[in-house]
């Protein structure tokens, strides 16, 4: 392998890592962008998704479609969890100042993480790569696992679908109306509570989808939520809070930075992302694609 080959390989796996970061951060940026709530407990849903798919691998009858059936069931369970949390807790937070929101969602993280511990324990679990995806593929002379290609496609699909949903459908337009001016949107007859519930549940499902999709190639382990939460935050602030395109850009930057620093100093790959975040924020305090003055 020449040096160029190694770089190409690393850039490709950087895209896989970027897809992981993007799925973890997409829901976060969606919820923040529309509702103005930064949910610290967000990546806990990522971890719950990963544990759910493991559980369904234990209870369902093994077969070629076990992963896909498990995925659908996991996402349904997560949608239910998200719906309950939105109705009981998040709804009370929308009009509060942001430090209180951060504190309360952090308390929610404490609670959810402990519930995961009660339900699944703290053992690291693994599940097999779904049937048909567990072989390598040859792309222009580079050997690459099929499942990784699938993950990149999934992230692109999710990004495109979410963008279309927000920008091209009636639901998305209602959401944008609520974001621009809640009172007038309400006066126009837009069902604000319904829109907010929908966006929150969508965000939770996206985070869960990240956990489910990356369960076969990553670890299903306790504590992954904190690791990925900090990275999701970095992705968000690099791209600009609430900017969906910015999140895509941030995820790609972080993924590639992570992957390429694995070549140089593997131990410090995550730290490298954080340093990158600090530098970008000093140059542009509102992120690469964010708008100045929307920091609160």
């Amino acid at each position: 392998m020449t040096f160029g080959d190694i770089i190409v390989n690393q850039v490709l796996s950087g895209l896989v890592i970027a897809s992981n970061f993007f799925l973890a951060a997409a829901g976060l940026t969606l919820i923040f962008g529309i509702m103005g709530v930064l949910n610290n407990a967000h990546t806990c849903f990522y971890m719950i998704g990963a544990y759910l798919i493991w559980t369904f691998h234990q209870v369902l009858r093994p077969g070629p479609f076990i992963f896909w059936i498990g995925t659908i069931l996991s996402l349904l369970v997560l949608a239910g969890i998200g719906w309950i949390i939105e109705r009981l807790l998040m709804r009370k937070l929308y009009s509060r100042p942001f430090p209180e929101i951060l504190l309360i969602t952090f308390a929610l993280l404490y609670i959810l993480e402990d519930m995961v511990k009660i339900t699944w324990g703290t053992l690291t679990r693994t599940i097999p790569v779904p049937m048909g995806f567990d072989r390598p593929i040859n792309i222009m002379g580079y050997i690459f696992p099929v499942y990784n290609i699938f993950l990149i496609c999934l992230a692109i699909f999710v990004g495109a679908a979410t963008w279309l949903l927000v920008n091209k459908t009636k639901f998305g337009r209602m959401a944008i109306a609520c974001q621009t001016n809640r009172e007038i949107a309400g006066a126009l007859g837009i069902p604000i509570p319904l829109v907010y519930t929908g966006i929150f549940v969508l965000g939770v499902v996206l985070a869960g989808l990240g956990g489910v999709a990356f369960a076969p190639i990553g670890y299903i382990r306790f504590g992954i939520d904190i690791d990925i939460l900090l990275i999701a935050f970095s992705v968000l602030v690099i791209g600009g809070m609430g900017s969906f395109t910015g999140t895509i850009l941030g995820a790609i930057l972080c993924g590639e930075a992570y992957s390429l620093s694995l070549l140089i100093i593997p131990e410090m790959a995550t730290v490298f992302i954080f340093i990158l975040t600090g530098i970008i924020l000093v140059i542009r305090p509102w992120g690469l694609l964010g708008t100045a003055g929307r920091e609160h």
Binding site: L103, F233, H296
Partner: protein, 327 residues
């Protein structure tokens, strides 16, 4: 003297009774109790110092820092390294720990104070996770996941009770410094930055410089807490510098009341006592404390002491003007 005007003297006198009572309890009660309670009391002191560092930023400067664990960890790790790998004296190790935390606070503070709101919270938590990752992944020098064990204080301080009095002295010193800071001109400029940063700039307060100084002081206090905690716990681990550790002082000051002088101490005391009680029944302490924090933030944003003080002040200063409904 500039800071001894009448208003501040009356402020001190108002709180003098409480300080006096607290001091008597803190000095006289622990010798009568068992070792378990002395250990607990020591932890309360350390966490009180730690909580004060968060209160200075959140209660007075209005900035939510999720990165206090970093300075606690840096202080703790430096003391641990110096005490286990070199033969420097104990006071020197403490000073070096605080100095290290101060330097790290200055580096992260340089980045953090340039941001506001949510960005500040995120960037400070990133600062904590950097320390967490470095300590977690470096096995050769920092012991990795297992941390550095077998850290012993000098023989004179090896007893639990003597170490308790040592911590008490330091905590009292920090409380006095904290009191002086929050009631100084500088402390009032922080309140001004919290309530209206634009107006603060207009009336000539150097906003960034003051925020930076407060950030560094807060980091130094957190580093001091870590430095005196480690020789007592005998071990330092990466879990002492992560995001969860950073949340503890913030939650403590929120529970006690971040804008009240004794709020952080009260919150830390409540936290440690509740933790020790809950853990005897169930290991699921995070659920309990998570729910408590939620209830406090939702229903009494000033914290327990803030609520009590508000009632107290209202009953004392009830004037006809205040009771009349304003039009």
């Amino acid at each position: 003297m500039e800071f001894l005007n009448t208003e501040r003297v009356s402020l001190l006198l108002g709180q003098k009774r409480w300080a006096f009572l607290l001091a008597i309890i803190a000095v006289a009660v622990p010798p009568l109790m068992g070792r378990y309670w002395i250990v607990l009391a020591n932890e309360i002191l350390v966490q009180s110092i730690f909580a004060m560092s968060a209160s200075l930023l959140y209660g007075y400067m209005g900035r939510l820092s999720f990165g206090q664990g970093a300075y606690f960890g840096v202080g703790g790790y430096i003391v641990a390294l110096l005490l286990t790998k070199t033969s420097v004296s104990f006071p020197f190790a403490l000073v070096a720990g605080v100095a290290g935390a101060t330097i790290y606070a200055a580096v992260t503070g340089y980045f953090c104070i340039r941001t506001t709101g949510i960005y500040f919270a995120i960037l400070s938590s990133v600062g904590a996770e950097v320390v967490h990752y470095i300590t977690f992944t470096n096995y050769s020098f920092l012991g990795g996941e297992n941390g550095i064990p077998n850290i012993y204080p000098p023989a004179a301080l090896s007893g639990a009770l003597t170490y308790y009095y040592f911590s008490l002295g330091i905590a009292a010193g920090v409380l006095v410094v904290y009191w002086l800071i929050v009631n100084s001109v500088f402390g009032y400029s922080l309140r001004c930055i919290r309530d209206n940063p634009e107006r603060a700039t207009f009336i000539g307060i150097p906003v960034r410089r003051n925020m930076f100084i407060a950030f560094v002081i807060s980091g130094a206090i957190a580093g001091l807490a870590g430095a005196i905690f480690v020789p007592f716990s005998r071990i330092v681990t990466p879990s002492m510098c992560g995001l969860f550790k950073s949340m503890e002082p913030v939650f403590m000051s929120v529970i006690g009341g971040g804008r009240v002088l004794f709020g952080p101490m009260f919150g830390a005391t409540l936290w440690i006592l509740m933790e020790s009680i809950v853990l005897t029944y169930t290991e699921y302490w995070p659920i309990v404390i998570g729910s408590i924090v939620m209830v406090i933030v939702l229903f009494m944003p000033g914290g327990v002491l803030g609520l009590l003080q508000g009632k107290f002040v209202a009953s004392r200063h009830k004037t006809p003007e205040a009771t009349k409904p304003t039009k």
